[in-house]
Symmetry: C2
Subunit: 331 residues, 2 copies
Amino acid sequence: MGSMNEVARLAGVSIATVSRVLNNNGNVNEATRVKILKAIKELKYQPSRVAKRLRSKGVSSNLFGVLVPDIENPFYVDVLRGIEELAYKNNSAIIMCNYGQDERKEKFYLEILQSESIDGLIAAPAHEDDVLLKKMVTDGLPVVCVDRGLSGIDVDVVLVDNAAGAFNAVDYLAKSGYRRIAYISGMPGIPSSLLREKGYRDALAANQIPFDNRLVKFGNSKHHSGVVLCRELLEMENPPDAIFTGNNLITLGALETINAMKLRIPEDVAILGFDDMYWANSLNPSLSAVRQPAYEIGKRAVELLIQRIQDPERSCIQMALNTELMKRGSA
Amino acid sequence: MGSMNEVARLAGVSIATVSRVLNNNGNVNEATRVKILKAIKELKYQPSRVAKRLRSKGVSSNLFGVLVPDIENPFYVDVLRGIEELAYKNNSAIIMCNYGQDERKEKFYLEILQSESIDGLIAAPAHEDDVLLKKMVTDGLPVVCVDRGLSGIDVDVVLVDNAAGAFNAVDYLAKSGYRRIAYISGMPGIPSSLLREKGYRDALAANQIPFDNRLVKFGNSKHHSGVVLCRELLEMENPPDAIFTGNNLITLGALETINAMKLRIPEDVAILGFDDMYWANSLNPSLSAVRQPAYEIGKRAVELLIQRIQDPERSCIQMALNTELMKRGSA
DNA sequence: TTTTAACGTGAAATCGTTTACATTGCGTTG
DNA sequence: CAACGCAATGTAAACGATTTCACGTTAAAA
């Protein structure tokens, strides 16, 4: 854990030369290189990323920030896994920031990330017009948004065609004969919720099913809101025969209620929602779902981020990946 | 985003004085303090955590490392949440390292963490005798282990009484009348697997059930091994009537097989295993499980870490939290 | 043989802090 | 009134790297 100074002293050269062999730039005589390498090994020297980052900010110091709304949601865990894996391949560490939909906390983390001089940031912002994040983008920090974009500003985005995914799902329900299809939305206001609702409404219209606003409920994207909103729906005098859920936490919550009410799936009520889970087959019946390629979203985001770090001028990319309707037992 | 220099210049003082007001140490005249505060506000100054960390290493620079084996496992996600939440309260960011049971990757991350001059580390090491991690501990890095300890060395540990948890679970199965109780273990060799197996065997003995080594299978703690090992068990000529699983991923895998084989739970085969999940009630039937207070493990670990950072000499604490047997529908 | 270029190296500035030490001025005290 | 303590502030070194510039040496080109 010595410093460059100690290495230099031991090898009998200056720190500049040590730096040169470490970074493989500049010319250095083979003999001295060997001497220095030996000294490095002997001292178990490891360069301080902190010092490096301080000295040359903006240059790659191999530290990314990741800002996610809710790590309890398996979708974001998968995104995170994709990010982590590719960051690792790129010799980078990540500072993980989980803001739990709390804007104060988001702000806190954004400030920290800035102050940590990260190379770049992958973020799922709380809002489309997150002022602080926007400012960081315009100030030149490389940023890639995932799952949600940023309005009125050019920024790289990786997400999914939410409207199409929802449309296909609800269309499938309709084609399967369901007529009273409910929608339990996640956080109202965030783009994905809006677009999924649009897909839902369009699919109803396409199948000549009248829209009934008593059949759509708005929650907060958490497990608990799935539980209670599903109950509200199923206790109506004329309950839905199928439920389309806005995300996986809500799905799980709804499932809990359905089981508690001892209803059969899909005979009494079918269920299908956004976000597949690797254990969808562990459920009984197995769970149908709209699959987002979460892991891939994470990977792509890192790719874009690295590109942008290398070339801050390249024009922004909006990458929309496809969803896949996983037809299984629950709908 | 100016530097202390700019603040100092604008306020007409030296950087030392600025530092003093920022850190609230040393004496500074009220009038100058106000001047400086105004300059800070005006320049939107934010101190560089990087510079601070470089200058004063070992002193609190509010950055922790977290090293987990598998972020896909909801248990570690919960631990992580606990850590994150408390770290946040402590104004700290965390570098998340997910080594996926890969020792090369673990080594890579440990080196990075060292090189990032973190204040302290919370880790679930790959082995009980993880040499690199041990060396970091003896070198003076504040470390708290979670879920798994480190052998032959004094270090703070937060975990759960695995043997007791397993014993209670299997004892409960036995008392419920099950006689052929299988065990699907996670990664062999890691302490938690060993202790859970011990609890399993002790419970069998306590209930006069002969141990049958064909009923214990060893996997790798992942979903897939639950799937295949469960199938092996259920296709025996004399299959088990209950399965005790070593962790939640295995449970989920086993569930998948049981469903695929169209067996009824718990009539044909009961299932109960380690690690509760917040959506245990979303399963049909609801899943019985040994609950580890994962979130609390994370919180406690941060508490211990902060204590150790403040007082590197305090003697080590081994904290064993209690498990809780969640009796639900599956066993 | 002289000019030029390339090579190999070191000195020193720099990044943005913290902090030990020095300095100044002023009120107390013997 | 000299000596002292203390409050308020500044100076400069350090943390550990990168990088620019300069300098000497040697080989190639003219």
